[in-house]
Symmetry: C2
Subunit: 298 residues, 2 copies
């Protein structure tokens, strides 16, 4: 029986990354910037640092004032001894956070949240540098984590062209960082994806969005997979009566978007994705190092 | 007596731009993308087209579906006969609009809202291409329009290093497109700037932000200039009893953020900035053409 626990699945990735980092024989340095005193964020930051250290990546967790972060990112970009930059968002809770994401040098952007990588994703460009098939592009950590988790539990087929062909998915969240990339990636992999945000639904097919008129109720009743990432208490939790028996349920919000008894109604309920996100972040770090930093260390 | 009417002030810029476009002797082509049926936006779009045409710039106003806009921008970027791209925002009313802004090739970004230009503004980098002092950087249209309007009414001094030295300004709006650039630009020009958004105030001095504890009431009572751009009906309009007599008041929101009787309480009230924004947009178009397109047409 495959584990549905993201901590257990993540551990396999962690082991593989530790092996690869060990074989590299050079030191990878990452800086993590945290600009909040918020206790859950602080705990998450310390846990991230520990995970990176476990695989042999040096992780310098730095507390900065939010108004100093812009300058700190620029200095980290310019520091040739640094290979990766991680930022604990939200910082300003506004469009300014998007500005900060775009400020990170794409060669150090382990979250793959800057325009350079996001644009590649939407253009279905799989290479880090145009025309160089030896260097693979990065994908954003949380969407990638969700797909790897669905792979681990057998929903995503391995080694096929369209690993989720014909499945219907509903995603609540269409942020530029998580929900929209995920909808594009899953529809590119063969699924039909209903994507909901406060402005209403869209349907994604083959990486393209379409206007669609469908209610939450209708979308849920049809879906094989339901993925939620709404960090607002005003979101009406998804109840057992809204989904079909056996629907795969994934929550990546910081708090549950499903009713507590959802587990009894489905075979696969993944209540959090955090440990897999950290694993994918380390995987991205390794990929960036190989793509852009290895030669100068060889 | 100097006019406080942005339409009158804009006309002087329009005349100067018409002269310069005429002297160029080549055709400048701009495309404007509108993805809404909203009537005020449609009217604004048609007015923009007319203004561009008046100065001799060809302006192709194209109605597109919002889900086709990404592709349309990519095609416009690739079209060597096109020299400028304008987008009527909001489109998605979400972070996706910021993605679309960043999709526009900086060499055609007449609004100067993409990361390339925004970053230059925050880095106080005045050149379009690093190290080439013959090509000036672009500034975002609305902040630039406000500063040119303040110059026209004599508040900004001309031909001095710090044209607004020692003045205190309060700005309601700290968006990445308007309020934050404006605060940085005005503080760079010598002003102290209290910047308010829903997350509270910041103080900008010499282009740097500082945490500050001040209420709206306190900031307004000290300010020489008050600038508003809050497109929410929930914003409590600024009343005469909140400002000092003679305070310069500027509103760039789509509806008034000042009480109706504000005019009787101040010498200078500028109720809208739109015509100046369009003029600055044409000025940016000309600058982009000279910076990046002229050689191939010479």
């Amino acid at each position: 029986m495959t584990s549905h626990d993201p901590s257990v699945v993540a551990e396999k990735y962690v082991e593989a990354i530790r092996d690869e980092v060990g074989k590299l024989g050079c030191k990878i340095n990452v800086v993590g910037f945290i600009a909040t005193d918020d206790q859950p964020s602080q705990s998450y930051a310390k846990a991230t640092r520990q995970k990176f250290n476990e695989v042999g990546i040096s992780y310098d967790l730095r507390q900065v004032e939010r108004l100093e972060l812009e300058q700190a990112i620029m200095e980290a970009n310019a520091d040739s001894d640094l290979h990766g930059i991680f930022i604990y968002f939200p910082v300003f809770h506004s469009q300014q956070d998007s500005y900060l994401r775009n400020l990170v040098d794409y060669r150090k952007d382990i979250e793959a949240g800057s325009h350079y990588w996001v644009r590649k994703l939407y253009a279905n460009d799989r290479f880090a540098i145009a025309g160089d098939s030896s260097r693979k592009a990065l994908l954003p950590c949380t969407p990638l984590a969700i797909i790897k988790m669905l792979t681990a539990v057998g929903i995503y087929k391995e080694d096929v062209e369209r690993p989720i062909e014909g499945r219907l998915v509903t995603i609540f969240n269409r942020s530029e960082v998580n929900g929209r990339p995920l909808a594009v990636m899953m529809s590119n992999d063969g699924a039909g994806v209903y994507s909901f945000d406060i402005n209403g639904p869209l349907l994604f097919e083959n990486a393209k969005p379409y206007e669609v008129k469908i209610t939450r109720k209708e979308a849920l009743a049809q879906s094989d997979i339901v993925i939620t990432g709404v960090p607002h208490k005003s979101f009406e939790k998804i109840g057992c009566d809204e989904i079909r028996p056996g629907t795969v349920c994934v929550n990546f919000s910081s708090w549950p978007n499903f009713e507590d008894d959802i587990e009894r109604h489905t075979d696969i309920y993944i209540p959090k994705i955090g440990p897999m996100t950290v694993a994918m972040c380390m995987r991205n770090t390794l990929r960036l190092f190989r793509n852009f930093h290895l030669e100068s260390h060889a």
